[in-house]
């Protein structure tokens, strides 16, 4: 798996939107396997029209977030890969002082940030931030 800087570069270096989405979908393919039994209703992110599952936990020893996820659509799964790379390994305080939204803005993936349910990026980001606030 690439880290968030590598992911950023891998997308930003693409010429044209087709290439960009090709890369995004590739990132989705490279996400670590999400175990089928974890695809429960509770793990579903509500407010996405695509199906998105998240599993969130804190690494006891480091105090850092460990999050894995999956989606039934390829583009959302690729966008999810960006979000996961961004938040994975961050401590709670880091999660609150940084925002994956800026990465999306810089990559010109802005319309995915709408609170629209179409893709649900907004909902995924919110779910992670809420988890880190509540626990």
């Amino acid at each position: 798996m690439m880290n968030i800087e590598e992911i950023y570069k891998s997308i930003a270096s693409q010429q044209g939107w087709q290439a960009k989405y090709r890369q995004i979908m590739l990132l989705g393919k490279q996400l670590p396997n999400f175990p089928e039994p974890l695809k429960t209703e509770e793990a579903r992110v509500s407010g996405c029209e695509s199906k998105v599952w998240l599993h969130l936990a804190w690494d006891e020893s480091t105090g850092c977030l460990v999050v894995i996820g999956d989606s039934d659509t390829r583009i959302v799964k690729g966008l999810l890969a960006i979000i996961l790379a961004f938040y994975n390994g961050k401590r709670s305080d880091e999660i609150h002082t940084s925002d994956v939204i800026t990465v999306f803005k810089e990559l010109d993936l802005i319309q995915h940030l709408s609170p629209s349910r179409g893709n649900g990026i907004h909902a995924i980001q919110k779910a992670i931030v809420h988890f880190s606030q509540d626990s």
Binding site: Q18, Y21, E49, S50, T73, R74, I75, G118, N119
Partner: protein
Amino acid sequence: MFDVNAIRAQFPILSRTVHNNSLVYLDNGATTHKPLNVIEKEREFYLQNNANVHRGTHFLSANATAQYEAVREILADFLQVQSRELVWTKGATESLNLIAHGLTPLLQPNDIILISELEHHANIVPWQQLALRTGAVIKAIKVNRKGCIHYERAVAQIQNLKPKIVSICHASNGLGNILPIESLIREAKAIGAITVIDGAQSFAQIRPNLRELDCDFYVASAHKAFGPTGVGLLFGKYELLNEMPPYQCGGEMIDKVTISHSSFNQAPSKFEAGTPNIAGVIAFGEAIKFISSIPFEEWTAHKKDVFNTLISEMQTIEQVELYGDLNDNIGTVSFTVKNQHPIDVATLLDHHGIAVRTGHHCNQPLMDALAISGTIRASIAIYNTVEEIDHFIFALRDVISLLEE
């Protein structure tokens, strides 16, 4: 002579770009764009004529009331009903809720409310709440695996179930099917049922003559008919309408109020509590004028051209599966692409400038019946062109090949 470019010139948004491509707007089933006369009317009202209606003694208020009530007359003329049979609401959803609330006193436990599997959630959930309140039971006319209802079976269901209420859409928002409501209404009335027609998709496209249809209720939304958001309509045969208990309560709809008791006005004002969407209703009058300005034959002929191009082109793409009735159709095609998620297809189409909708389209029971989780829906309006369809088909092929790499 019908000139689609002259019509497009009335819709400035159609000239905009999306992701550096010309916009091709095929999401008209969700909401249509608004012609300039509608937009400018609303603006003019606020710039020069703004006032609250009905209780004013001053010029602006009298003028606003006259304009507001004049649109009720325009609508009455369009639908061929009496103006006192028309209630302004905020949308088709509210209209259906108002009717389902108003029919509460007429239902007994085990009475049947018959809908169809094609219904929008707005024509399902209010009836479920009515059923919860009264002990009535909901049944649905079934669709086949393409999403079409079987007419003879629907008639048999009406005759056997003897529903108290039959509430069906004039045209399906999910698939575009036009339902044979003339004869279904006749059958329903033959067994004494109250008939409700969800006209959200038919108002502008079919211009129903309600006097001929003879249904008891009809609802629609202005925003799907070239009008502003926040305006809906409800037609009810006067006796039935006026008999219903009030829905929302407050100003306008009352006759006398004391702290402990109130009496109510007659319909339609009985159902119009509070300050209405005055500017919206007045602008909607212009939308009806826009629709009426295009002869119906030219309207349908143009839409058929565009729709037939769309369908025949779609049928040449082997990965595409089409749903719905492709003959009696308001101009909406719902489809899936083999092995691809609708959202992936639509997201990439968007980068070509093409606006389509994905998902269940507020038609979950229909999607269940078709055993799919959703479709991609392209819905056309009078301002769409054959060239736009060509652009769409080109883009769709491109997107499919990108996804299949």
